[in-house]
Amino acid sequence: MREIRCQEVTASLKKALLQAGVELPGDVKQVLREASRKETGRSAGVLQRCLENITVAEKEGLPLCQDTGMVLLFCEIGQDIHFDRDFNGALEEGVEQAYEEGFFRKSVVSDPLKNRKNSGNNLPPVIYHELVPGDGLKISLLLKGFGSENCSRLHMLKPTAGREAVVEAVLKTITDAGGSPCPPIVVGIGLGGTMDKAAVLSKKALCRSLDSHHCDPWYDELERELLEKINATGIGGGGLGGDTTALGVKIETYPTHIAGLPLAVTINCWADRKGVVEL
C-alpha cells in the first residue's frame, strides 16, 4: 500500500496545467516548425504567426489562446494507492488554482441549458478514472478549446462499412469543419466500443504524442493515410488554403458489438495543449 497525499496531487496538477496553457509540448512545436518550413500555400503566413505566438506566450508567460478550455483528466490509478483525502477534490483544487494564478479565462458554465451561469473557477473538469495494477499514479490532461470541440462528431457506422467508410466519415467531419477549428488541427479518433466509449477514446487518442506510432501496424498505416488525405483537402492553416490542414491523426480502438461500428472524431486546434503528471 502506498500513501499519496492529495496536497501533492493538487500541486503537481496545478503546475502541469499552468505549463500546458502557456507552452506547447515539444512534439507539437516540432511538427509546426516542419510544417512552416514546407508550406508554400496561403497559410504559410498563418503557420509563421502560430510560431510567433508560441514564442511570445513562452516569453511573456501569457496563455497561448484566450480560450484556455475545459480541462479533461484521464487518471490511471494504481490499485495499491491510498489517498489521504478526497482525490477528485484535490484535482478540482489544482484546476481552480491554475486558472486563477495563470490568468486563464474561466470558460465553464455550471448548467448547460437552464441559465448557463459561469462557474467562476473553470470547474468542474471532466474526469475519467481507470484502475490499474501497481501503485503508480498517472494523470494525462488536455485543455480543450471549444472552437474545435464544436466541430467534433460521432458516426454510428454499419458493421460492414469497412475501412473506406471510416476514412470517408473522418474526411467529411474535417471538410465540414473547414477553417472553424483553427487548423492545422490534431485529430483524435475513437473506433469501437459503444457510443460513449468511442467518444472517450477519441479524447484519449489526443493524449498521445504526435511523434508516436500506433502499436498495430495496420492502424499505424491508417493514421498515416488519414493524415495524408486530410492534408490533401487543401483547407490549410486558418482555412486560408494550403498543404497543412492537420499536424497529426491518432486512433484508439476497443472491441465492439457485432451489429455496429461506432466512430468518434475529436478535433483539436493547433494549440494542442496537453500534459502528463506522474506521481
Binding site: R42, V56, P63, C65, F103, R105
Partner: protein, 176 residues
C-alpha cells in the same frame, strides 16, 4: 525573420478599403472596437426598441474577441479572435449603419458578405489561437459600453502592428 507587411490605419478610410484584396496580409495601427455575442445582441435590441446606440459605430472596425483576465502590469490578457459566424445575424444591420470593418475567424454568411459589398466594408481574418501575440500588439484598452458584461463588454483598443488577412473585400471576393 522579418517580413514586409503593409501597414494600415484604423479607423479605415474609404481609399484603403477599396484597395484591399482578399488574401492581402496587413497590419492595423490605430483604434478598433471589441464586441462579441452579448454586446451584439444588446446593440441590435437597442435598435429594435428604436433607441440610440451607446456609441457611434460609423467608420469603426470591430474585433470579435473575449480576452483572458489581465495579468498585473499588462494592458490586456490573451486576446485572440473568436468565431465570427456567431455574429452573422447582427452584422448586416451594423454594416448598414456605417460599420466599416470586422475582425474574427472563420467563414461568414451570404448576408454578411452582401453587406460588406453594399457598404464598401471589409472582413479581416485574425490568426486563430494567437492570443498571446495579439495581447502584445494591444497598447491600451478602455471600456466604452456595457461594462456589466465584463469580458463581453464593448472596449476600444489601441493597436500597433495588429496582424490580419483580408478575408472578404469590398468587391465581393472571399477566401472562404
Amino acid at each position: 525573420m522579418t517580413r514586409e507587411v503593409r501597414q494600415l490605419k484604423v479607423p479605415l478610410c474609404r481609399e484603403d478599403i477599396a484597395s484591399l484584396k482578399a488574401g492581402d496580409e496587413v497590419e492595423l495601427n490605430g483604434t478598433i472596437l471589441v464586441g462579441r455575442d452579448q454586446a451584439h445582441l444588446r446593440l441590435i435590441q437597442t435598435l429594435e426598441r428604436g433607441e440610440e446606440l451607446p456609441l457611434d459605430i460609423r467608420g469603426e472596425t470591430i474585433y470579435y474577441m473575449g480576452p483572458a483576465p489581465t495579468p498585473p502590469g499588462r494592458v490586456i490578457g490573451s486576446a485572440g479572435p473568436t468565431t465570427s459566424s456567431r455574429m452573422d445575424p447582427f452584422a448586416p444591420r451594423l454594416l448598414d449603419l456605417g460599420l466599416k470593418g470586422m475582425i474574427g475567424k472563420g467563414p461568414r454568411s451570404r448576408e454578411v458578405l452582401d453587406g460588406v459589398v453594399r457598404n464598401g466594408a471589409v472582413y479581416f481574418y485574425a490568426f486563430g489561437g494567437c492570443g498571446a501575440l495579439y495581447a502584445q500588439r494591444i497598447v491600451s484598452s478602455e471600456c466604452v459600453a456595457y461594462g456589466d458584461l465584463g469580458p463581453e463588454a464593448i472596449y476600444r483598443l489601441r493597436v500597433e502592428k495588429f496582424p490580419v488577412v483580408v478575408a472578404a473585400d469590398s468587391e465581393g471576393n472571399s477566401l472562404y
